[in-house]
Amino acid sequence: MKVTKTTLMAGAIVAVAGAASAEEMTIVSWGGAYSKSQLKAYHEPYSEKTGVTILNDDSSAEAVAKLRAMNEAGNVTWDVVDVVAADAIRLCDEGLALEIDFDTQLAPAPDGTSASDDFGDLLVSDCFIPQIVYSTTFGYRTDLVGDNPPSDICAVFDLETYPGKRSLEKRPINNMEWALLCDGVAKDDVYDVLATPEGQDQALAKLGTIKDNVVWWSAGADTPQLLADGEVIMGSTYNGRLFSVIEEQKQPVAMLWDAQVFDLDGWIIPAGLSEERQKRALDYIMFATDTQRLADQAKYISYGPARASSAPLVGQHADLGIDMAPHMPTDPENAKNTFLYNYEFWADYRDDIDAKFQAWLAQ
């Protein structure tokens, strides 16, 4: 009797699992508050509409390596993957991501503008559907800067006015640009200078002036923690992290938007999915990147929607009830002096400059 029961149950489980797998998709993202914003703005409405169960996998940080390994093994288990633009470009180069026809596979704006015009310059790769614009910028402790709060990126290099430790990311990207900018290089020339060995040495020399006062971070949560503990007087991180330190945790921290570096985060669909899974992934993308959905995400996290048509729809934070527009990196007040991550440059120079940077760090 017992045996029959167990067999029946096992059979039932297999049947359920079989049925479920037909209506399931795995979406990979970064975890934390960011995944939560996607859950609220995209996953829950999509599941409600279609009945598809969405499984979350917080593996975006290793997405490129894992996708390559899956592809070599011939068993891609992910349906949609959230990556930063630089990773999307590499995945596209490696043939690991599906090329998208933006105008037919994405929804047009409500006024009929085609998707490719609506996203505009943010379409940096044939495989990449941008979702948000975020920025890497500085936050500082308001109680440690006295009555002279910094308003200029070069405050980072000014140890006399702002003594104390700073936290910078443990990689050359962004740091090299800021160093050159504060060493008298004009903004338009930064990448021309950085392409030369002398320019790279110049940037490292400028960083060398504060090297002893830098805490190098590798996880986005490091700077917020260091700021909250008073370990550093200022530090770079993603603007959404600083938003949560300032508005949600009410720490004495303020934003230094000057010379913030815009970057994009968005979706790719892995190459080599079965036809049925690819169709479902494309259907999800069509839904999740339309004008309203992108604007909805900004209710939960302070990252700017990638569509031009979404910007006017950005409202208030879902829990805090504050206006989100002034916290967006793209807000005119914050975006007086900005950089856009130079994907082409860093795709070429990343390995070379990184080797130099790491050797310099180890000295």
Partner: protein, 423 residues
């Protein structure tokens, strides 16, 4: 008596020579034993040996150039890289043909990424040129030399072709050269420019710091293990729980806890400032450097030292030390001449465990190591997950494996591996 005088080999009951019969039965038994362990052997082979060997093979595998540009590679044989002159039209035509096929298969950007490890700029050159070369016709649009140089002036640079020729070999030593701060050039192996040398330094640092960590683990673990083995059961059980509790706690939690303890506004510094031992503006820097890595890793690896030491010490019979004392030895002599030598197998086992674990550690140095406390494994992780230069990562891994095996061999020669006991 007749048996003794009989000449020839001894025979078994069935008439075959005894030696042969014995060998046969032994062989049969061996085969049976082998059949019994076959599933395990197969499992180890499939899940352990094959993946590792295939990963290590990537450190020399370099088929991508010849596979993506087969005609070009043949033509490059006829071109003298030393001449300083650009290759002729035949090569450009072959290259265009190869590229059109590669773009069709979306292989050209992969090749660009591969060559970008050797020469900066290749990645965007292949990506950008690909969009335009796609529109060329391999028959009608000849000649190609001018057209390609117009598409991207990199194709008019002798260095581009020298790099392609240098890295066109299917089996390369290039990754291994990179792993020891050298590079493969048309003129043979050369040292990297000074400002890019880092890997040898990291290897040295990894070995040095792993030794220090192993040493500090021995110093800390020895008295604890001694207490564990010699205290009354009730107390030692309590102590054992204190050892095991952190062992069961997540690695990341323990590492982050050290951050809270060691940072400048952290528990230790606050206490010292409060006690007046350290001035407020001269707080100790004990994290984000080598010291932080050594402390955190010693703490994390300590149980791997304590447990083998403890299990060996438990087996040391107490009457040896009692006998020594009864014959007039001092406490120190008893310990040093009688107890310590018997506990060495535990130290050996613990040291090997801790050292081998330490040398491959990656997450703790990444979190608390700052810039001076990171290991070679952090670089391997970077090349696996970030730069995607798996060939270099595999070469670094192979070297690390070789170093560990070498040290193991040295240990065997000096201390003797049969002198290692886990209990």
């Amino acid at each position: 008596m007749t048996d003794a005088t009989q000449s020839g080999p001894m025979l078994a009951a069935d008439g075959t020579p005894l030696k042969k019969s014995l060998a046969r039965s032994l062989r049969r038994r061996k085969l049976r034993a082998l059949a019994l362990i076959a599933p395990l052997l197969l499992f180890v082979l499939l899940s352990f040996v094959v993946p590792i060997v295939s990963m290590l093979f990537r450190s020399v595998e370099n088929g991508i150039v010849a596979q993506t540009l087969p005609l070009t590679v043949v033509e490059l044989q006829n071109w003298d890289a030393e001449s300083g002159e650009l290759p002729d039209e035949a090569l450009y035509a072959a290259f265009t043909k190869d590229m059109i096929a590669a773009i069709e298969a979306k292989e050209h950007t992969k090749l660009g990424t591969r060559l970008n490890y050797e020469q900066t700029g290749m990645s965007s050159m292949f990506r950008k040129s690909g969009r335009k070369i796609k529109r060329l016709d391999p028959e009608a649009d000849a000649p190609f030399k001018e057209k390609l140089i117009e598409i991207h002036d990199g194709w008019g640079d002798v260095d581009t072709w020298r790099v392609i020729k240098t890295h066109a070999v299917p089996i390369t030593n290039g990754y291994f050269l990179n792993a020891v701060d050298m590079r493969r050039t048309p003129e043979g192996a050369q040292a990297q420019p000074e400002d890019k040398r880092i890997l040898i330094k990291l290897f040295g640092r990894t070995l040095f710091m792993s030794l220090i960590i192993t040493g500090s683990c021995i110093l800390l673990a020895y008295p604890i293990s001694y207490l564990l083995a010699n205290l009354p059961m009730r107390v030692s059980n309590m102590l054992m729980i204190l050892v095991l509790l952190p062992f069961w706690t997540s690695l990341l939690v323990r590492t982050s806890a050290w951050k809270v303890m060691l940072q400048q506004q952290g528990v230790i510094n606050e206490t010292l400032v409060w006690l007046g031992l350290v001035a407020d503006d001269a707080r100790l820097v004990i994290i984000n450097n080598q010291f932080g890595t050594i402390i955190a890793m010693t703490h994390i690896l300590l149980p791997f030292m304590i447990l083998p030491m403890y299990s060996v010490m438990q087996t040391i019979p107490p009457y040896y030390t009692r006998a020594a004392k009864s014959m007039g030895a001092t406490n120190w002599t008893t310990f040093w001449r009688i107890y310590f030598p018997q506990s060495i197998p535990g130290i050996g086992a613990g040291s090997i465990l801790v050292f081998i674990l330490a040398i491959g550690y990656y997450i703790t140095p990444e979190i608390v190591g700052g810039t001076k406390g990171v290991f070679i494994s952090n670089r391997i992780a970077y090349h696996i997950s970030s730069s995607l230069n798996w060939g270099l990562a595999a070469a670094l891994g192979t070297i690390l494996l070789a170093v560990v095996l070498l040290l193991y061999w040295c240990y065997d020669k000096i201390v003797g591996i049969d002198n290692v006991k886990l209990g």
